[in-house]
Structure formats: structure tokens, C-alpha cells
């Protein structure tokens, strides 16, 4: 890792990932890479297998075949061989969910502290140091609160730190879930439709947040998104899936005019540049993929 080589090392290399659900082929021989300090968007019509990719990466599904190689501290970890709950800690993969999964009955701050469970748990030494209130544990807890405060400031929720997470407005819940994922100190951040249900102002704020994370942290971001203003605005490269197959992998500008992508979104009949222009238009994505659900 040391010594800046001219060839960039991918943080995550997905190779020939295939996922069958009985008869259904959800992902078909998918390969792509994600690089640190880059935002990689995965787009595609509904049912294209985007969330399934995330579920494979974060250990919720075991892929039928393929290799998910993650570079962590100079070593290569194969995510498909790690127990689901260990992926966050060992490989540094954090994620958010399409349907927000906060700890609704706990406060905003508590959500962020739970995200730092493993560090705090080892500082509390089987809860004994914690029960006794030893300085070592208290220092760890203070550090955790400081880290939480940093991300709260970043997502603009410091004022509401002691609110129950479930009482926050929708947009704030989305931001909190991202902050919670970032509190785990990830190397790879997987965001599943972070802009879903946000108004234009909120998705603008989301863009700024993600750009500042990319600028300040050594993090690779994987982004599933239907909102083209987010995808086209901040992605470094875009992977397009259709029926589990990769049909494009290029920069936003190139994807925008890719005939295969246009076909996937708008159907076979549409041609050329007219359709390409409409891909960028938010209204056009409803033509085939109404993102309900």
C-alpha cells in the first residue's frame, strides 16, 4: 500500500459475482471495482439486482459464486467467506438501508454510540471496566461521544441529538442513518437509495454531504440511487445493471449517452439522442421504472 504506485489499487474488487434464488438469477456474472475517495453509483431499473449486490457485500446473502475481494490494511479479505456481522468490523463495510432502519426508540446520539459498539465493548472489558467506571472505559466513551458529535455536526443534527430517532422528520432520518454508518469508521460505505423520498433541497444537501465525505475521508462510496440529480451530480463512475447483468460501466457523461442504458430504461423502440437526453431528466425514469416500493 505504501509508495504511490501509478496503478490505482481498487479497495473493493467484485469478480464474477453470481446470485441465484432457486430459479431466479438475480445477479449474473457481475464484475466491478470501487476505489478509495471515489463515488461509484449502481443504477438500473427496479429489480435489476442492485440491493442484492449490497446484501452480498454486507453478508446478508451468501453469493452463489464469485469473489468479493476487499483490501483491508494491506490484506485481501474475501467478504463472501466472513460471517455477516463481522464484515463491518473486519473489512470496514458499512451500509444504509432502502427502508430506513434506525433504532427508532433510542435517541439520535444513542444510535451513533451503538454504531461504535465494538470499540466501546473492548474498552469495557466484558462490561467489568464499564461497571466499575474505570478511567479507561470513560475515556473511550468520551471519544465515542466526540466522534458522534463530529458526524452530528456534519449532518446537522447536533441540536436534536437527544431526540428519539423515530421522531425525526424523514430527511433527517436518512441523514442520521448515513451518520450512523460513518460512525463505524468504514472503508467502504454502501448507501441504498439515500435520496429516496427527499425533496430537491434535501437531496442537494445530501450531495454536499457525500462530496465532503469523499474529500475528507479515505472512504470509497457505493451508491444505489434512482435520483439522477444525485447520481449524475456526484458520481465518479456509474455501473448500470439490467436483469442482474452489467450493461455499462463508465463515467456519468458516457453512461448518459450509452445506447444500451437508454434501451434498458426506455425500451427497445426509443432511439439515439432523444432518449439519451431523457435519461438525465428525472421524469423519464418513470417511463419504465416507477420507483415505488
Amino acid at each position: 500500500m505504501t509508495g504511490a504506485s501509478e496503478i490505482r489499487q481498487p479497495l473493493l474488487a467484485v469478480e464474477h459475482l453470481t446470485m441465484h434464488f432457486d430459479g431466479l438469477l438475480a445477479i449474473d456474472d457481475l464484475s466491478f471495482a470501487a476505489y478509495p475517495k471515489e463515488i461509484t453509483a449502481i443504477i438500473g431499473p427496479n429489480g435489476a439486482g442492485k440491493t442484492t449486490v449490497f446484501n452480498c457485500l454486507t453478508g446478508f446473502y451468501r453469493p452463489t459464486s464469485g469473489r468479493l475481494a476487499m483490501r483491508a490494511e494491506g490484506e485481501i479479505l474475501l467478504l463472501e467467506r466472513i460471517d455477516g456481522f463481522k464484515i463491518a468490523r473486519q473489512a470496514g463495510v458499512a451500509r444504509t438501508f432502502q427502508n430506513i432502519r434506525l433504532f427508532a426508540g433510542m435517541t439520535v446520539l444513542e444510535n451513533l454510540i451503538v454504531a461504535q459498539h465494538n470499540a466501546l465493548m473492548s474498552a469495557s472489558v466484558f462490561s467489568i471496566a464499564g461497571l466499575l467506571g474505570l478511567p479507561r472505559y470513560r475515556a473511550a466513551e468520551r471519544a465515542a461521544v466526540e466522534r458522534a458529535r463530529h458526524w452530528l455536526d456534519k449532518v446537522g443534527l447536533t441540536e436534536r441529538a437527544d431526540w428519539l430517532a423515530g421522531t425525526l422528520p424523514y430527511g433527517a432520518q436518512r441523514r442520521l442513518e448515513i451518520a450512523r454508518a460513518l460512525c463505524t469508521g468504514p472503508a467502504l460505505l454502501c448507501l441504498d437509495e439515500p435520496a429516496a423520498g427527499l425533496n430537491p433541497r434535501e437531496s442537494g444537501e445530501l450531495n454536499e454531504l457525500l462530496l465532503s465525505v469523499r474529500a475528507e475521508q479515505e472512504i470509497a462510496i457505493l451508491l444505489i440511487e434512482h435520483d439522477m440529480s444525485v447520481v449524475m451530480g456526484i458520481s465518479d463512475h456509474i455501473i448500470v445493471l439490467d436483469y442482474g447483468r452489467k450493461i455499462a460501466d463508465a463515467t456519468p457523461a458516457a453512461v448518459r449517452v450509452d445506447p444500451a442504458v437508454v434501451r434498458a430504461y426506455l425500451g427497445e423502440d426509443e432511439t439515439g439522442k432523444l432518449a439519451a437526453a431523457r435519461v438525465a431528466d428525472p421524469a423519464a425514469r418513470h417511463a419504465r421504472a416507477p420507483d415505488s416500493r
Binding site: T58, G59, F60, G84, F85, K86, I87, A88, R89, A94, R95, F97, R101, L102, F103, A104, G105, M106, T107, L109, E110, I113, V114, A115, H117, N118, L120, M121, S124, S127, G130, L131, E141, V145, A148, R149, L152, T158, R160, A161, D162, W163, L164, T167, R180, A181, T184
Partner: protein, 442 residues
């Protein structure tokens, strides 16, 4: 009934159709009451001599019950409704009590503890009152223990009495077979119960909600049936008797002690009274319960406690954050069981005799009712509910056979009134702002 403008909007017009629907509903309710009352109240068995049973009928009682339900149902429908006050009344009292007690927790707790400590020495306290207090405190301790599993970790456990039984039998067997005293057996009771908690935890790791409830219910029964049938060790239905009473730092509570042993009253040069032991037992369970409270309150503010609550809220999110759900669940089961084991050990030494009779499903249900009634996760609520659930049947003694009916009605009333428990108010485990940030928490 005042015909205020607000009421006119709320109420349907009183047309003949309205009245007929009203009567239909009341008659249906009376019919259900009749069906229920017929076997329960209407028939009573009695001894006609020679071991035979006769049946005495009380159809007048059935008629009274049906008439009462009919009238009650009508009155319920015709009750004056104030739209603004729909959720007010008693509910408000307890909401206020909940917020007030959580804001003034140290004050309320200190006052409660002080009262509990001086209770046996107050002029009006009697042996009966102290015994009742001891029972309440056992349930408080069990409630706080089960609160870890149900209230914090959200794992519905219907077989909690199993750990209570394991603790009690561990204490009794160690005393009988190894001659350990209560104080020596106490830690082992907790450890063995915790072990059983983890053993139960493994097979139910993947279960939640109803399924978990059924398996834990079965586990509770398995333990009871094993205790009942493993006669060589547990004494079967005869149980274990002569469990030694706890001593005060080696000083037994007895009128006369064997050679070479000083008793409590001899050592302090006071007159012997059987009440001394009762008061001592009361103070022991008070101390055990307070330690339990301190322990669970402290755990709640540690990563393990927050992980329990996070698991209750969303297990999938926990996994995505790198929390091992297996460890979190097993630790909740283990620690909850350990506290139940301690309480069981105390129960054994207090009774001096235990048998499987004491560990039926009813006990599990009572403990769970205390936790749910008090407000899941609320320490203060558990105390309130335990006092209510233990003393209510005592007050009901005057009503003889209607006691349980009264008890059931009270439970239903509380759940209608405060569906989330008496004192449902969650205090965050830590805050960013040092002071209360207004009403945002509710």
C-alpha cells in the same frame, strides 16, 4: 347530559336505528356474560357426604351478572364524551407521574428506598406486613431481572420461572448435599441459573416474538417436570425441606443454639423474638433487590445494555453495524437468568421448603405481567406493578371467590387505560446536552 356544541358533533343522532343497534350490542354482551357465568358462577360443587359431590345451582347470580353487563354496556355507550378529554383523566395522572418520576428519579428512588428500609421498624408494621413486603420485593427483583430480557432486549420470555426454580433448587441441593450455608450457595445459584439461561438461549437464537414465547414457555415446563420426576435428586413432588436459614454474619436466628454457637440475640444481648428473623429476611431481599437494580441500571448505560436495546429495535441494523446478535442475546438471557437465580436462592432460604408446586407457569405469567404492566424497561414501573400485583389479591381477600375476578378486571382496566404500562417513560442512556431538551423525548 349537557347538550354542548362539541358533543353534538361527536355523537350520532339518536334515531330509532341508533337505539336498536345499541340494544342489540348490549344484549349480545349480556349473552356472552351469561355463557361465561353459567359454568363459572352458576354451578357450584359441594360435598354431599360419603365423598360424593353434588351440584348447587345459582341461576339468580347468573341473571344478576347478565343484567349488570347489559346495564353496564348501555351506560358505556351513553357515557358523556368530551372530545378534548378523550385521553385525559386517569391517563393524564399517570403520564404526569411518569414524567415527574423520571425527572426526579433520584428523589423518588431515595424516598422509596428510605421508606422500604424503615418499614419494619415503623409502629404500624406487623409480621404480616413485613412478610407481604418480602414477597413484593422478591417479585420486584424478579421483575428487574426479567426486564433485562423482555424490556431491554425485547426477547419475550414466558418461562422465566425456570431460572427462579434452578436458583432455588441449586441453593437447596448445595445446602442439603454439601452443607453450604445460604451465603455460600447464593453465588452458585446465580451462576448455575445463568448457565441454564445460556443453554436456553442457544436453541432460540433465531426465534423472535411468538415463536420465542412458545419455546421459552416449554422450557419453563420442562424444568418443572424434571424437578417433579427426578425424585432421587430433587425429592419429586415432596420437594426439599429443612433448607438452612440465612445467618447474620454467622450468627443464626434461633431461640437456642447448639453448643459453641452464639445466636443473634445472645450476641447483641437482646431478647429473642421470632420477628427478628422475618425482619432480617426482609432486609436481605431489600439489599439483593437494590443490588439488582444498581447492576441493571449500570448495564443499561454500558455498550452491552445499548446493544440489548438496539437488538430490540432492529436486529438487521445491528448486524450491519458489526454487532454479534448471538453474544448480545446470550448475554441478555444469561444475566436475566442469573438475577432470577439469586431471587430463587433467596426464596428457598426464606421458605425453608421448596417443591415444584412453587414454580408453575402462573409465576412466569405474574412476573411478565409485572414487567409489562409497569412499562417495559421502566425500573420504577416494575416496583409499582409488583406492589399492585402482590397486594391487590390480598386486598381482594374480603371478596373471597370473586378475588381473581376482581384481579382480572383490574388488569384489563390498567391495560385499557395505559396500554404501554403504568410508567412508560424511557430515559436515554446518555445525553449530549446536559439538561433536559424539553418535550422532544416523548
Amino acid at each position: 347530559m349537557t347538550a354542548a356544541a362539541g358533543l353534538a358533533v361527536e355523537k350520532p343522532a339518536r334515531t330509532p336505528l341508533y337505539w336498536s343497534a345499541l340494544f342489540k350490542d348490549a344484549i349480545l354482551a349480556a349473552l356472552v356474560a351469561t355463557l361465561l357465568a353459567l359454568p363459572l358462577v352458576g354451578m357450584q360443587t359441594y360435598d354431599i357426604g360419603g365423598g360424593a359431590l353434588g351440584i348447587r345451582t345459582h341461576f339468580d347470580w347468573v341473571a344478576t351478572a347478565a343484567a349488570a353487563v347489559f346495564a353496564g354496556r348501555l351506560a358505556w355507550h351513553l357515557r358523556p364524551r368530551h372530545p378534548r378529554r378523550a385521553e385525559a383523566g386517569g391517563d393524564k395522572v399517570f403520564s404526569r407521574l411518569a414524567t415527574w418520576s423520571s425527572r426526579r428519579t433520584p428523589l423518588v428512588a431515595a424516598a422509596g428506598i428510605a421508606f422500604a428500609v424503615v418499614l419494619p421498624f415503623l409502629p404500624f408494621s406487623s409480621r404480616y406486613l413485613i412478610d407481604l413486603g418480602t414477597t413484593v420485593l422478591i417479585y420486584v427483583m424478579l421483575g428487574w431481572g426479567l426486564n433485562v430480557v423482555v424490556g431491554l432486549a425485547g426477547l419475550l420470555d414466558l418461562g422465566y420461572v425456570a431460572f427462579y426454580a434452578v436458583g432455588a433448587y441449586t441453593c437447596a441441593l448445595l445446602a442439603r448435599d454439601l452443607g453450604l450455608t445460604f451465603w455460600e450457595a447464593l453465588p452458585f445459584s446465580g451462576l448455575v441459573a445463568a448457565g441454564f439461561g445460556v443453554i436456553l438461549g442457544f436453541p432460540v437464537l433465531r426465534l423472535r416474538g411468538d415463536y420465542l414465547a412458545i419455546v421459552t414457555l416449554g422450557f419453563g415446563e420442562i424444568i418443572r417436570i424434571v424437578l417433579l420426576n427426578w425424585s432421587p435428586v430433587t425429592g419429586g413432588p415432596n420437594g426439599i425441606s429443612d433448607i438452612p436459614r440465612p445467618s447474620f454474619f454467622g450468627l443464626p436466628f434461633a431461640r437456642s443454639a447448639p453448643e459453641g454457637v452464639t445466636t443473634f440475640h445472645q450476641f447483641f444481648g437482646i431478647e429473642f423474638s421470632p420477628n427478628q428473623r422475618v425482619v432480617f429476611l426482609y432486609l436481605v431481599i431489600l439489599a439483593l433487590a437494590l443490588v439488582t437494580n444498581l447492576f441493571t441500571l449500570r448495564l443499561r448505560k454500558l455498550p452491552i445494555g445499548r446493544a440489548w436495546e438496539a437488538l430490540r429495535e432492529d436486529e438487521i441494523a445491528c448486524r450491519a453495524l458489526g454487532i454479534n446478535p448471538t453474544n448480545v442475546k446470550l448475554s441478555a438471557f444469561g444475566i436475566g437468568a442469573m438475577l432470577g437465580g439469586f431471587a430463587g436462592s433467596f426464596f428457598a432460604t426464606r421458605q425453608g421448603f421448596i417443591s415444584p408446586e412453587s414454580f408453575t407457569f402462573t409465576e412466569s405469567a405474574t412476573i411478565l405481567a409485572i414487567v409489562v404492566l409497569g412499562g417495559m424497561g421502566s425500573q420504577m414501573g416494575v416496583v409499582l406493578a409488583a406492589i399492585l400485583l402482590v397486594t391487590l389479591p390480598e386486598f381482594g381477600r374480603a371478596f373471597a371467590e370473586f378475588r381473581m375476578l376482581l384481579f382480572g378486571a383490574a388488569m384489563v382496566a390498567i391495560m385499557v387505560w395505559r396500554p404501554r404500562g403504568l410508567l412508560a417513560h424511557r430515559e436515554p442512556s446518555l445525553r449530549l446536552a446536559p439538561h433536559e431538551s424539553g418535550g422532544a423525548l416523548r
